[in-house]
C-alpha cells in the first residue's frame, strides 16, 4: 500500500510541477483574465461560425426531394416505384383484392379482425381500416405516377430515348388509369389528382368528381397510355410484368364492360384474344398459378414479386398457421362444396384453388413461401368472359356461348346449356364466380350489375335485400375528418 501511495504522490508532484505555470498565472487574476478574454471571445465566434456546418447532418438512406428524376436511370427507378406501390399490400398486394372477393359471398372470416367481417356481412363502416388503407394506397400510387408523368418529359438525357420516354410515360398513364378505375368502381366518384404533390398544401380540398367523370379520367389515361406503350409482336421476358399496349386494351375492355359500352368492350377484348401468338388459355386450369408458375401465356398483366426484396404478403391471410399464415379468411362451406364436387373437381381443375388440412379448408392461390406469388391483374380468361358478356348483352348469344365455353372447356367442364339471353348472362355470372373464385371480381361484378341487392341480404334488417347504397363503399371517416371538401357516400 505504501509503495502505491509513494508512487501516486510522486506522480502528483510531477503533475503539479508541470501545471505550476498555469496556476501561477491564475494568481495574477485580472491580468490573466484580460489576456485570455480575447481568446475566449474568438473561441465563441469560431464555435458559432462552425455551428452551421456542424449542424448539417445529411441522411444516408434517403435523398433530398428536389432532384430525384434527372436522367434515364432515375426515370426508370421512379417508374419502378410506381409499380411497387401498385403491388403494395394496401393495393394489389392484399387489401384492395380482399374487397373484391370478401364481399362475394363465398369467403368466410375466420380470424379476429372484424374489418374483414364487415365485408363478408356487407356491413362496411366508414371506420373500416381496410377501406382507409385501400384509399390511401391507391392515391399513393397515383402520386408516384404523377411524379413520373410530370417530370420525365422534362428530363434531358441522351440515354432517355424517345422510345424509352414514351414507354415510361405510357406505363405511368396505364397505372394511373387502373388506379382511377379501381377507385371509381369501389367508391364511386373521387377527387381527380393529376399533378404530383410537392408541398404539404398540394392536392387537397378538392371535391369529388362524379363516378362517370372518374371512369372518364381512367379512360383518358388509358387512351394516353395506349399509343405510348410498346406493342411487341412477341412479348419479352418481362412484358407480362409491365404494362404493354395489349394490357391497355385488356383494361379498356373491362372498363367498357363496367360502363356498358358493349361493342367497345367486345372490340378491345377481341384484340387481345386474337393475339394468339402471345396469349392462350393454358391448360389444365391450374397451369396459370400452380407449381410456382408465373408469367404464363394466360397472363396479360401480373405484378411480380421476387419474395425477398419484393414480397407479396397475400398468402398470410389465406394459409393456415401450419404453413406460416393466419388464415384470416377462407373459402366458406358453400364454395368448398362447389369446388370439391362434380363437375368442378376435375384433376388440376378449379378445386386446386383450395386445399385442406384435415377438415380445415383454406385458399391456395397464394401459397409460395416466402411470398413471391404474383398478383394477377389481367388474364386471358377474363377477356373471354368480358367478350362473352358483351356479346350476350348485344344478343350475340352463339358467340357469347363460344367464349363462355372456351373458358369452361379449359376448366374441364362441359359446354353451357344456357339458351336465353338471361340464362347466358346468368351462366357467365356463375362462371366468373368460380373462374375467379379467389380473385377480386365477384363483389365488383355483382355491384356493377346491381345484382348484389338481389343476391345479398341487408345486414341490419332481417329479411330485407341489400340496400343499393351499399354497392359503393363508404369513404374512410379519417379522410372526411382531414379534408372538408370530401363528402360521404349516401347511406353511410
Amino acid at each position: 500500500m505504501s509503495a502505491t501511495t509513494f508512487r501516486q504522490r510522486a506522480a502528483i508532484r510531477r503533475q503539479a510541477a508541470q501545471l505550476r505555470p498555469a496556476v501561477q498565472l491564475s494568481v495574477f487574476s485580472i491580468a490573466y483574465l484580460k489576456s485570455i478574454a480575447p481568446f475566449l471571445g474568438m473561441a465563441l465566434v469560431l464555435a458559432l461560425g462552425a455551428c452551421s456546418s456542424y449542424l448539417d447532418v445529411q441522411p444516408r438512406e434517403s435523398i433530398a426531394d428536389n432532384a430525384t428524376i434527372v436522367d434515364q436511370q432515375s426515370s426508370l427507378t421512379a417508374l419502378n416505384g410506381v409499380y411497387s406501390a401498385l403491388g403494395s399490400s394496401g393495393y394489389y398486394g392484399t387489401s384492395f383484392q380482399s374487397i373484391g372477393y370478401l364481399g362475394g359471398g363465398d369467403i368466410q372470416w375466420t380470424g379476429t379482425q372484424s374489418q374483414v367481417q364487415e365485408f363478408v356481412s356487407h356491413n362496411v363502416r366508414s371506420d373500416n381500416s381496410t377501406v382507409s388503407t385501400v384509399w390511401s394506397s391507391i392515391y399513393l400510387t397515383i402520386n408516384r405516377a404523377n411524379h413520373v408523368l410530370a417530370t420525365v418529359p422534362t428530363v434531358t438525357d441522351p440515354l432517355l430515348t424517345s422510345a424509352l420516354r414514351n414507354q415510361y410515360l405510357g406505363e405511368a398513364y396505364f397505372i394511373r388509369g387502373l388506379a382511377y378505375f379501381d377507385l371509381a368502381r369501389t367508391f364511386g366518384g373521387v377527387p381527380l389528382i393529376l399533378q404530383p404533390t410537392r408541398t404539404a398544401t398540394d392536392n387537397q380540398g378538392i371535391a369529388r368528381a362524379s363516378q362517370a367523370d372518374t371512369y372518364a379520367q381512367a379512360l383518358r389515361d388509358l387512351d394516353a397510355a395506349e399509343p405510348l406503350l410498346p406493342n411487341p409482336t412477341t412479348l419479352g421476358a418481362n412484358d407480362r410484368y409491365r404494362a404493354t399496349r395489349k394490357a391497355a386494351w385488356a383494361l379498356k375492355a373491362r372498363l367498357h364492360l363496367y360502363q356498358g359500352n358493349w361493342a367497345l368492350a367486345e372490340d378491345y377484348a377481341t384484340r387481345v384474344i386474337n393475339d394468339q401468338a402471345n396469349y392462350q388459355l393454358v391448360a389444365p386450369f391450374n397451369a396459370w398459378f400452380a407449381n410456382n408458375a408465373r408469367g404464363t401465356r394466360e397472363s396479360i398483366f401480373e405484378i411480380f414479386y421476387n419474395g425477398t426484396t419484393e414480397v407479396n404478403g397475400h398468402r398470410g391471410n389465406w394459409q393456415p398457421t401450419a404453413n406460416g399464415g393466419t388464415r384470416q379468411w377462407a373459402p366458406n362451406a358453400g364454395l368448398v362444396a362447389l369446388l370439391t364436387a362434380a363437375p368442378n373437381n376435375t384433376p388440376n381443375g378449379r378445386s386446386t384453388l383450395i386445399a385442406n388440412l384435415g377438415t380445415t379448408w383454406y385458399g391456395n392461390l397464394y401459397y409460395r413461401n416466402p411470398g413471391s406469388d404474383p398478383s394477377y391483374v389481367l388474364r386471358l380468361a377474363e377477356q373471354y368472359l368480358i367478350r362473352a358478356e358483351a356479346r350476350a348483352r348485344q344478343n350475340k348469344l352463339a358467340d357469347a356461348l363460344a367464349d363462355l365455353n372456351a373458358v369452361r372447356t379449359r376448366a374441364g367442364l362441359a359446354a353451357s346449356s344456357a339458351t336465353t339471353q338471361a340464362a347466358v348472362l346468368q351462366a357467365i355470372e356463375e362462371e366468373r364466380r368460380l373462374e375467379f373464385a379467389l380473385e377480386p371480381h365477384r363483389w365488383f361484378d355483382l355491384a356493377r350489375t346491381g345484382r348484389a341487392t338481389a343476391v345479398f341480404a341487408d345486414p341490419l334488417s332481417s329479411g330485407a335485400p341489400l340496400p343499393a347504397f351499399r354497392l359503393l363503399l363508404p369513404l374512410p371517416i379519417s379522410q372526411l375528418q382531414v379534408d372538408a371538401a370530401l363528402a360521404q357516400n349516401t347511406g353511410y
Binding site: R9, I12, L19, R20, S26, S29, L44, Y54, L55, V57, P59, E61, S62, A64, D65, T68, L76, N80, G81, Y83, T110, G111, T112, S126, S129, S136, L140, I142, N143, I193, T197, T199, A200, N203, Q204, I206, Y241, R242, N306, G307, T308, T309, E310, P320, T321, A322, N323, G325, T326, R327, P370, P459, L460, I477, Q479, Q481, V482, D483, L486, Y492
Partner: protein, 1004 residues
C-alpha cells in the same frame, strides 16, 4: 459520507492520542464545542452522558460544559435535524464535534443543472430521491422503481417483464408525436433512453435505462419546473432526471459493501376462462341466436355429425404452462475509499430476473469504476465509467399471433387439445402451441453499454472554476431470433433466423466556467458553458430462411438470405448560462438561459432559445418570524421559463425525402418518402410554477406544495395529410397542449424516541390536467383506433361506442346514438375517459427500532381508464367459435327476457352487441398497490465485531403484495405497447408479479 463525518472526530483524537498528557480529574467539568456542518457553533444542542440522566445544552456559541464525566465515557450529542452522534469524552486536546444534517433537511445538497445547491436555497421544483430503499425492487430499471416516490411523476410499468420499457411522465405530457419521456443525465452524460430493440415482441420495447445498476446510484434528482429544467433547453420540456453515481471520499478507508439477495415472483392471479363445456354452450347459443338451425348447431352429438355435446368437451389449461414461479437473484459488491488526493468507487453487480412468463428473463452484469484525482490544490481530474452487459431471453409478451406467448396461452380456446389425433403437439386457433413455444423459443438480445465521463476541473481563480468534460454513451445492441419449423413464424419458410447488430454512439463535450462571489450579504454565482453533442446510429441486419433442418440455427446455413443497413444521426450545439443571486439568505433569484442548435430542424429554425427566471423568498429568515419557534421553515417560490422538446421525431424530419427500396422486377426503385417542412422547429413549453415550502417543529414536519401551468406551443406532430396527396402525414408544429397541476408532499418524523424507535412518513399526491388546446384534425391511435387525439380533450382519450345498457327484453346492447340518426355508425364514437388519473401518489412509512427497520410503500392512482382488450377478444359471445377463448365473464350474458346484465346476448361480433370499440371493455384503472414492504435487521455490533467489524443487515422484501382495483384484468398498469400513444390498452401482457426476496447486506 456520513461515516466519514462520524469518523473525523475519532481520527482527530487518535492522532492526538499519541501525545502523553496529564490525566485530568473526572470531577472537573468536561467542556467542548458543537459545530454545524458549516463550522459555526450550534446552540441548543443536547449533550448527554450515555447511560445516565446527566445532560446539558450548548450555549449561543455552541459550547457546553458537563460535570461528572469520566474519561472515555460516551457522550450522546443530539439535535433535531442532525444525526445523533456518540463521542468518547477525552479531555486531551479538547472536544469539537461537527454535526451532520439528516437527510431531507434544509442543508441537504441537491444536484441541479451544472452544479449543486443547498435545499434551502432552491428555487425550482426539484425532487431528490434516495434510491436506497427501493433499489432492490425486482423491476430491472431504476426509473421503474420510483413509482409513488416522486410527487408529480407518474410511472407505469407496462408489463411484468423485468427490464422492459416503463412509462415515465413528469407533470403530464406535452406532445403527441414527439417523445414524452424525460431527459436522463447520468454523471453529466445525456444518455440514450430510446430502446434499440428492432425485433418484434408485440409492441414491447426494452428499457435502455435498465443498463444501469440501481445499486451504483447515489442520488436521483427529478427536475420539474422551468427554473430547474431551462438549463437543459431543447430537451427539458418533459423534465430531467439527474442520476449521480456513487463515488469514494477523500481520506476514507476502504469500505467494502456486499449485497446478496434471492427471490421468487409469481402472478398474483390469472384470468378466469370458460371451461370447454361452457365454451361449447355459448357457441351453440350464438348459433341459435343468429337464426342457425338447432339441428346443425356445432356442438351436437357426434352421431349427428357434430363435435359432441357441450358437456362432452374437455378443458385444457395453457396459462399454467406459460406462467411460472420466477427466480430472482442479485449480487452486488463495491469498494469505495480514498486518500488525500484520490478517491475511488469500484462496483460490480450481477442480477438475473426471470419473468413469470416463460421463457423470458433479464440478466445484467455490470462493472463500475469512478475515480477522482487531485493533481494540485487547483486541478482535479476524474472519470466515471459504467460498463454493462444486459442479456435478455426475449419473448413476445404483447400483441400478435406468431410467437405470442401470452396470446397463445390465453387466447386459444380451452376446449382445444394441444395434441392432434396422432398425439403430436399442434398449434390451434392460429396461435402457436404453448409447449412448442416454450421448448423452441430462441430469441435473445445482448446490450453492451458503456457510459463514461472524463472531466477536468481547474480553479483558475479562488472564485472561478473551469470544467471541461467529455462524455460517451456507447451501446452495442445485438439481437438474434431463430424460429424453427415447429413454430408459426418458421413454419412454411423452413425456419427463420434474423440477426441484427446496432451501435448507438453519443459523444458529448461540455465546457463550463463557474464563478462564485460574496460581498457582505450578497452572494452571486455564475455558470456559463458551451456544449457539443453528436449522436449516430448504425445497424446491420441479416435474415435467413430455408434451413436444412431444425438443428441449424445460424443464417450461414439458410438457403435464402437478405440483409439491410441503416444509418442515422443528429448533432446538437449549445450555449448556456445561469446567474443565481442570494441576498442575506432571504431573497433568492435565478436567471438562466440556453441556446440549442439542432441538426434536426430546417436551417431557418435550427436554433432555439430557452430563458427562465425564478425567485424565492425565505420568509422564515425575516426578523418577524425568527421568534416563531414552531415554524422552522417558510419559503415562497415562483418561476417561469421556456423549455423545448426535439425528441421522438426523426433525425431528418424537416427534410423532403425520397427513399430507395421501392423495387420492382428486382431492379431498384425510388419513391417519395416524406414531405419537407423547412419551418419545422422546436416544440416550446412555457411553464409557470409557484411553490411553498413549510417546516414545523424543527422540520419534523415538512410540507412542499407546487402548482404549475405548462403550455406547449409549436407542438411537434405528424399532421395528417389528406390521402389524396399520396402522403399520410408530415412533420409540423401544429399542436398546443396544456398541463396544469398540483403537487403536494408531506414528510413527518412521527416518532423519534430516545429509546431508539423512529417512525417517519412520506406522503405525496399530485394531480395533472392535460388538454389538447389546438389540433386542426383529430388523430386516431392505438390498436383499432381506440385512442383519439382531438382538440378540447386530454391526450390519449378513448374513442368508443358508449354502451348505455343491455335491453332486458331483447338482450341487445343499446349504445349512445350521439348524432341521433337512429343508426350506430362511426360518427357515434365518442370520448369516454382517458389514460390520465385524476390524482396519483404514494405513501412511505419507515420504522426503525434498534437494529430493526421496516419500510412500507403504497402507491396509488385514481380515475384513469384502461381498455381491457383481452376481454374484448374473450367476450366474443360465441361468435368466434373455436378461433378464440371465451372468458368466464361472458357467461353473464343475457339469455332470456328479464335478465338484467351488461353483457348482451350471444349473437356475433361487430354487428351490434359485440361491437369492436365498445365501451363495455373500457374499465376503471384506479388502484391502490402495496408496492413494497421491506423488513431489515442489522446485527448488533457485539456480533459483527467478530466479523471484520462491519455492519450486517439481513432483510426480506415483498413487492406488489396487495393490489386493490376494480379493474377486471390482471394489472391496470398493463399496456400491450411501449408506444406512448397506445398506453392504456391491455392485451397479451403479463401482470407485474408479486415477489418475495431475502437478502443480506454487509459493509466493512
Amino acid at each position: 459520507m456520513l461515516l466519514l463525518a462520524l469518523g473525523l472526530p475519532t481520527a482527530t483524537q487518535a492522532a492526538h492520542g499519541a501525545t502523553v498528557l496529564p490525566l485530568l480529574l473526572a470531577d472537573e467539568p468536561f467542556s467542548g464545542k458543537v459545530l454545524d456542518e458549516n463550522g459555526a457553533g450550534l446552540p441548543g444542542v443536547t449533550v448527554r452522558l450515555k447511560g445516565s440522566a446527566a445532560g446539558t445544552a450548548t450555549d449561543d456559541q455552541g459550547n457546553f460544559s458537563l460535570a461528572g464525566v469520566p474519561e472515555d465515557a460516551i457522550l450522546l450529542i443530539s439535535y433535531v435535524g442532525y444525526k445523533t452522534q456518540e463521542v468518547k469524552a477525552r479531555r486531551a486536546g479538547g472536544l469539537t464535534v461537527r454535526l451532520v444534517p439528516t437527510q431531507g433537511q434544509l442543508n441537504e445538497v441537491v444536484v441541479v443543472g451544472y452544479g449543486t445547491q443547498q435545499r434551502k436555497n432552491l428555487i425550482g421544483a426539484i425532487a431528490k430521491v434516495d434510491p436506497s430503499d427501493t433499489k432492490t425492487l425486482p423491476v430491472g430499471s431504476f426509473d421503474a422503481q420510483l413509482q409513488g416516490k416522486v410527487p408529480g411523476v407518474q410511472i407505469s410499468s407496462n408489463s411484468g417483464v423485468p427490464g422492459q420499457a416503463v412509462n415515465v411522465r413528469v407533470r403530464g405530457a406535452t406532445t403527441i408525436n414527439g417523445s414524452n419521456t424525460p431527459l436522463y443525465v447520468v454523471d453529466g452524460v445525456f444518455i440514450n433512453n430510446n430502446s434499440l430493440q428492432t425485433i418484434s415482441t408485440g409492441g414491447k420495447a426494452t428499457s435502455p435505462i435498465a443498463d444501469l445498476n440501481p445499486s451504483d446510484i447515489e442520488s436521483i434528482e427529478v427536475l420539474k419546473d422551468a427554473d430547474a429544467t431551462a438549463l437543459y433547453g431543447a430537451r427539458g420540456a418533459n423534465g430531467v432526471i439527474l442520476v449521480t453515481t456513487k463515488r469514494g471520499n477523500f481520506n476514507q478507508k476502504p469500505k467494502v459493501s456486499v449485497d446478496v439477495s434471492q427471490g421468487w415472483a409469481k402472478a398474483a392471479k390469472l384470468w378466469d376462462l370458460a371451461t370447454g363445456p361452457e365454451h361449447a354452450t355459448l357457441v351453440n347459443e350464438y348459433w341459435l341466436n343468429t337464426n342457425g338451425n338447432a339441428a346443425t348447431r356445432p356442438y351436437r352429438p357426434m352421431s349427428e355429425g357434430g363435435r359432441g355435446l357441450p358437456e362432452e368437451q374437455p378443458t385444457f389449461d395453457r396459462l399454467g404452462q406459460v406462467f411460472r414461479t420466477a427466480r430472482l437473484q442479485n449480487y452486488d459488491v463495491s469498494v469505495a475509499g480514498g486518500n488525500a488526493a484520490s478517491r475511488y468507487y469500484l462496483g460490480g453487480g450481477y442480477t438475473k430476473q426471470e419473468s413469470i412468463l416463460r421463457p423470458i428473463d433479464f440478466q445484467r452484469a455490470n462493472f463500475k469504476l469512478n475515480l477522482d484525482q487531485k493533481l494540485s490544490d487547483k486541478v482535479q481530474i476524474g472519470v466515471s465509467n459504467t460498463f454493462t452487459r444486459t442479456y435478455r431471453n426475449e419473448g413476445r409478451a404483447g400483441d400478435g399471433p406468431a410467437g405470442g406467448l401470452l396470446q397463445a396461452a390465453l387466447h386459444t380456446p380451452t376446449l382445444l387439445s394441444p395434441y392432434d389425433e396422432s398425439g403430436r403437439l399442434v398449434s390451434r386457433a392460429s396461435f402457436d402451441n404453448v409447449q412448442l413455444l416454450i421448448d423452441n423459443y430462441d430469441v435473445n438480445s445482448t446490450s453492451l453499454r458503456y457510459i463514461g465521463n472524463l472531466y477536468g476541473d481547474v480553479q483558475l481563480l479562488p472564485n472561478l472554476k473551469f470544467r471541461t468534460s467529455l462524455g460517451v454513451d456507447f451501446n452495442s445492441y445485438d439481437e438474434k431470433e431463430y424460429w424453427n419449423t415447429l413454430l408459426i413464424a418458421g413454419a412454411g419458410v423452413g425456419g427463420l433466423a434474423t440477426s441484427s447488430n446496432a451501435q448507438y454512439t453519443s459523444l458529448l463535450n461540455e465546457n463550463t466556467l463557474t464563478y462564485r462571489q460574496q460581498w457582505g450579504k450578497h452572494r452571486v454565482g455564475v455558470v456559463v458553458g458551451q456544449g457539443l453533442q453528436a449522436d449516430t446510429y448504425h445497424r446491420t441486419f441479416a435474415q435467413g430462411t430455408g434451413f436444412p433442418n431444425n438443428s441449424f440455427r445460424e443464417i450461414s446455413a439458410a438457403s435464402v438470405t437478405s440483409s439491410t443497413e441503416n444509418w442515422t444521426g443528429y448533432r446538437l450545439a449549445s450555449f448556456f448560462g445561469r446567474v443565481d443571486y442570494n441576498f442575506d439568505d432571504r431573497y433568492l433569484l435565478n436567471v438562466s438561459f440556453r441556446a440549442d442548435g439542432s441538426s434536426r430542424f430546417g436551417a431557418a429554425n435550427q436554433w432555439g432559445y430557452f430563458p427562465s427566471v425564478g425567485a424565492a423568498w425565505r420568509v422564515k429568515q425575516e426578523k418577524f418570524l425568527q421568534d416563531a419557534r414552531w415554524l422552522s421553515d417558510l419559503k415562497l417560490r415562483a418561476s417561469y421559463g421556456l423549455t423545448g422538446n426535439q425528441n421522438g421525431i426523426g433525425n431528418f424530419a424537416a427534410r423532403g425525402l425520397w427513399s430507395g427500396g421501392a423495387n420492382y422486377l428486382g431492379v431498384a426503385g425510388i419513391a417519395p418518402q416524406q414531405l419537407g417542412n423547412e419551418n419545422l422547429k422546436w416544440e416550446q413549453t412555457s411553464q409557470a410554477n409557484v411553490g411553498l415550502d413549510l417546516g414545523f417543529l424543527d422540520n419534523r414536519i415538512t410540507l412542499e406544495f407546487n402548482a404549475y401551468y405548462k403550455y406547449t406551443k409549436n407542438g411537434l406532430i405528424q399532421l395528417t395529410e389528406p390521402a389524396t396527396t399520396g402522403f399520410s402525414s408530415y412533420w409540423s408544429n401544429a399542436v398546443e397542449i396544456s398541463n396544469k397541476g398540483l403537487e403536494f408532499a408531506l414528510n413527518t418524523v412521527n416518532l423519534r424516541s430516545a429509546g431508539g424507535l423512529n417512525w417517519t412518513t412520506s406522503f405525496n399526491i399530485a394531480s395533472n390536467v392535460n388538454n389538447i388546446e389546438k389540433l386542426a384534425t383529430p388523430i386516431q391511435f392505438g390498436s383499432r383506433n381506440l385512442i383519439l387525439q382531438q382538440q378540447g380533450t386530454p391526450l390519449y382519450s378513448f374513442w368508443v361506442y358508449k354502451q348505455l345498457y343491455v335491453d332486458p327484453q331483447t338482450g341487445n346492447a343499446v349504445y349512445d346514438d350521439v348524432n341521433k340518426d337512429g343508426k350506430i355508425t362511426a360518427a357515434d364514437r365518442q370520448i369516454v375517459g382517458s389514460i390520465w388519473p385524476k390524482f396519483f401518489g404514494g405513501l412511505t412509512n419507515t420504522l426503525t427500532y434498534k437494529g430493526f427497520d421496516a419500510s412500507v410503500l403504497v402507491s396509488f392512482q385514481s380515475g384513469n381508464k384502461v381498455y381491457n382488450h383481452n376481454r374484448f377478444f374473450g367476450e366474443g359471445g360465441g361468435a368466434r367459435d373455436e378461433a378464440r377463448v371465451i372468458f368466464a365473464s361472458n357467461l353473464a350474458r343475457w339469455q332470456k327476457p328479464g335478465d338484467v346484465t351488461d353483457v348482451p346476448k350471444a349473437d356475433g361480433i361487430n354487428v351490434n352487441n359485440y361491437l369492436d370499440g365498445g365501451s363495455r371493455w373500457l374499465e376503471d384503472g384506479s388502484f391502490i398497490r402495496l408496492r413494497n414492504v421491506s423488513l431489515g435487521y442489522t446485527l448488533p455490533e457485539s456480533v459483527t465485531r467478530h466479523l471484520l467489524g462491519g455492519t450486517v443487515r439481513l432483510y426480506a422484501q415483498g413487492t406488489n403484495l396487495v393490489l386493490l382495483t376494480k379493474y377486471t384484468g390482471l394489472d391496470p398498469e398493463s399496456a400491450s405497447s411501449s408506444d406512448a400513444n397506445q398506453q392504456g390498452i391491455d392485451l397479451g401482457t403479463p401482470p407485474q408479479p408479486r415477489s418475495w426476496q431475502v437478502g443480506v447486506n454487509a459493509t466493512f
